[in-house]
């Protein structure tokens, strides 16, 4: 733990001395295998990157005597990521996790230059012999949040604070609303994309906008607790994203979707140590423990807790899937027939919203 603090300190001190983005870690042990991480936001965002960094820390805790983890945070999802990924490979990393959808092509490009280095790209779909992909079924968690919202919303109008229109977010929107409509068939959803994963002032303004448009529960698919703080001020409800954010909004925070990456990271790093690593596409969820629901707020009534627990249990034993037909799109066209269940391949590229989603974008 002392080691970790020291590493964080070095990372930030390096930035203070004018290096940006922050480059964490320093090589001080030759025999350890290096594992690299490319992070989208700051590790202190309390959300997406925070959760990935927890996964990295889990690797340190479990395999710290055999491996050394290094990371770069605040890496933009554009061409500027390429030299940073390449730099990790040149520093001798044997396995590099690139932890956001927007690094997909950059990861493939660098992987072609370093056939001996293994890469793992989070939430992408392009693979190679030395590039694996992994994802988490966040939408299973969204179905739990939607179930709670459908029961607890008085207005029946739900708000959704989105980042970008990428399949992960579209899945989240659809899963959330479909689950809410199971509890309240008239439930509808207002959707705002803020075109950023992390912009607390804009997240706050967008949340106010959704509230002004009649939403009494707003769920977020961006990475800071800003929305929850606004909801707390207004006496309304919302959910944490990526991590338990209840300390920021003890009354508004009904529960949260927590991303638990540690077990997957440990497994993959172990495979590098054992020499058994192979490219694969892993999409775990609630069953595997990648998606976890935080403790419920006491404001959630017992009958709603029972419903939410039922959804969780259903996902764990495979008896529940929110993407079971009939499902209609925004314009009322039947997209999934009665009784049919959407396949993971279909979900991975979904680009349409279900009936009841109100959005201009």
């Amino acid at each position: 733990m002392a080691n970790l603090n020291r590493r964080n300190f070095i990372a930030a001190a390096g930035a203070a001395a004018a290096a940006v983005p922050l480059v964490g870690g320093a090589a001080f042990a030759q025999e350890k295998i290096k594992i690299g991480f490319i992070f989208l936001g700051p590790i202190g965002d309390y959300g997406w990157t925070w959760a990935h960094n927890k996964g990295r820390e889990a690797v340190d805790a479990a395999l710290g005597d055999k491996v050394e983890t290094i990371y770069v945070e605040n890496v933009a999802e554009d061409a500027s990521a390429i030299p940073l990924i390449r730099d990790l490979a040149q520093q001798g990393c044997k396995l590099i996790f690139t932890t956001s959808y927007g690094y997909m092509d950059q990861t493939i490009a660098v992987a072609a230059e370093f056939p001996d280095v293994k890469f793992e790209h989070c939430t992408g779909f392009k693979r190679a012999d030395n590039v694996a992909t992994y994802n988490s079924k966040f939408h299973e968690g969204r179905a739990v949040l939607g179930t709670i919202s459908g029961k607890m919303s008085k207005s029946g109008t739900l708000g959704y604070l989105g980042s970008y229109k990428v399949p992960e977010v579209v899945l989240g929107v659809n899963s959330f609303l479909l689950a809410a409509q199971k509890q309240n068939p008239d439930a509808k959803l207002k959707l705002v994309f803020i075109d950023s994963w992390f912009d607390p002032p804009k997240e706050a303004a967008a949340t106010e906008t959704l509230i002004n448009l009649g939403c009494d529960i707003v769920t977020t698919h961006t990475d800071s607790p800003a929305a929850l703080q606004i909801l707390e001020q207004k006496g309304l409800y919302g959910f944490g994203q990526g991590a338990d954010m209840s300390s920021f909004a003890p009354n508004a925070h009904l529960t949260a979707i927590e991303d638990i990456w540690g077990p997957y990271y440990i497994e993959r790093v172990q495979a590098i140590i054992d020499g058994t690593w192979a490219s694969a596409d892993t999409w775990d969820g609630m069953k595997e423990g990648t998606v976890v629901i935080s403790p419920y707020n006491k404001a959630v009534p017992a009958d709603v807790v029972a419903l939410a627990d039922g959804v969780q249990a259903g996902y764990k034993d495979g008896t529940y899937d929110i993407f079971t037909g009939p499902i209609y799109d925004q314009d009322g066209n039947l997209k999934v027939e009665e009784g049919k269940v959407m396949t993971m391949a279909e979900l991975a590229v979904i680009d349409w919203f279900v009936k009841g989603v109100e959005s201009a974008a």
Partner: protein, 311 residues
């Protein structure tokens, strides 16, 4: 009516920090210095204000801490560009990088902390009234920003000190030759700009979202810089510009959520258009101003140039 009141409150929230930082930068630029480090100073102010509030339990001391920290960061910039004559553009960019890193470093021990909030400046009944809150329901920082619009305008236009500051910005050699301390005036202006940017940053970490997160200003410092140009270096227009920028973001968010249905044309405009508008408008205004003669442009003549008195 409720919709309108809620809209005004949201817009004020978006506009206040860029107004504060913009007013500071306006004074800096009027003195002939270009400080591109606004984003960095805002971040330093955001963490300093947050930290001071956590440590003292008093948000007023927090705001003072933010102003002092912003002024200190600016003074470092001042030392480099005024005393050592380093390049203002490069040094300003370095200040942003430095401020980002420094705020992350200081912020490490403040992650996840909660700060006490400002009470209402007016009687709580007024601040909570569904209609009157549109006038009385804001954080004290908002009223401070509005007062400063008039103070800065009055200072630059009607005071002897403001006249000297403008003279230094327009013709530093002449001001120097009649006995004014060009460097001293510019130091004061730069420190004031830093203090205002610091308070603007603290508005994020203490009022809008009372928490510390790295890079939480998310580029607002750059908008503040654009705002100064947009305003043609006039404080009144800066206020109008800040509100205009706020309205545009409000339009963007509402257009996306389908809340502009009452504007029949709005549904045909992609929401990204509203997001791009502040920058488009800055370009348009710049073009319009520069079509007029140099006097109309109103930019201080010595802006960005180092002061090297003839020996």
């Amino acid at each position: 009516m409720d919709f309108l009141i809620a809209a005004i409150i949201t817009i004020v929230g978006i506009s206040t920090p860029i107004l504060l930082a913009g007013l500071g930068e306006l004074v800096v630029e009027k003195s002939g210095v270009l400080n591109l480090g606004v984003e960095g100073m805002m971040l330093v102010g955001a963490i300093a204000g947050f930290a001071a509030t956590v440590l003292t339990g008093n948000p007023w001391l927090g705001v003072i801490g933010a102003a002092v920290a912003g002024a200190l960061a600016a003074s470092l910039f001042g030392f480099l560009v005024l005393t050592l004559n380093s390049n203002q553009v490069a040094t300003g960019l370095a200040l942003t990088i430095f401020g980002t890193g420094l705020s992350s470093l200081i912020g490490l021990s403040f992650v996840g902390r909660i700060v006490p909030q400002f009470g209402s400046v007016f009687p709580p009944e007024l601040a909570r009234d569904p209609i009157l809150k549109v006038i009385f329901g804001y954080s004290p920082v908002v009223y401070f920003a509005l007062v400063m619009v008039f103070v800065v305008g009055w200072f630059l236009k009607s005071t002897r000190a403001g006249l000297i500051l403008r003279a230094v910005g327009e013709n530093d050699l002449s001001a120097h030759s009649i006995g004014y301390s060009v460097i001293g005036v510019r130091y004061a202006a730069v420190a004031f700009g830093g203090a205002m940017a610091g308070i603007g940053g603290a508005y994020f970490s203490m009022v809008i979202t009372p928490m510390w997160a790295e890079r939480m200003t998310a580029g607002r410092g750059w908008i503040a810089l654009a705002l100064v140009v947009f305003a043609g270096w006039r404080s009144g227009r800066l206020l109008v510009g800040a509100i205009f920028f706020g309205v545009l973001m409000w339009m963007e968010l509402n257009a996306k959520a389908g809340g502009l249905a009452f504007l029949s044309f709005a549904q045909y405009i992609p929401s990204q258009f509203w997001a791009a508008m502040p920058y488009l408008m800055t370009v348009v205004v710049l073009t319009l101003i520069s079509m007029r003669d140099r006097v109309g442009l109103n930019a201080p003549a010595c802006l960005g140039k180092p002061f090297v008195p003839a020996t």
